[in-house]
Amino acid sequence: EPEVTQTPSHQVTQMGQEVILRCVPISNHLYFYWYRQILGQKVEFLVSFYNNEISEKSEIFDDQFSVERPDGSNFTLKIRSTKLEDSAMYFCASIPNGGTVTGYTFGSGTRLTVV
């Protein structure tokens, strides 16, 4: 079964440092998402991406965050200057098209720890 792949699985960074989280969505999927989950809490929407541009973003996704698709396969989330409260599990998800008649396929996540 096709998978969404995320790397690294765990990243520790110092406050103020930049981090890039990487995702390889399923190859024929067109819509991509980043969500985050602070330990044991709800899954929070960050941003959706389609046709090489952001289609929707939440209040959490401020100027410190950016996304891009640098090539035909990778989808990245960059946090420019990490804060302690950015510590969370970050999930990438994808779907084939915008109709969402199918569910999201989530990657296994990147656990980001900011110290």
Binding site: K42, V43, F45, E56, V101, G103, Y104, S108
Partner: protein, 110 residues
Amino acid sequence: QQPVQSPQAVILREGEDAVINCSSSKALYSVHWYRQKHGEAPVFLMILLKGGEQKGHEKISASFNEKKQQSSLYLTASQLSYSGTYFCGTEHQAGTALIFGKGTTLSVSS
């Protein structure tokens, strides 16, 4: 805009049934249900589109009341493997991102 899930937690013995509810204050286009095991990613269970359809997946089924903007997930004859946190995700317009509820933790013991 975040859907409200209830109850927050359910404790069951194997073979017992449970119902998890999800409600929204805004009109819904679709409701998704996901299950997340500890330390893992959410896994898609089913999607319900407006129209009041009910779906089933093994012994797990769900309904969607479009008028009340509510969905319910039914777990019958629960198994140990059903343990985890169940999230509903709501889509208010076609193509918009899912917004998830806070989750319902289900614990099934033998």
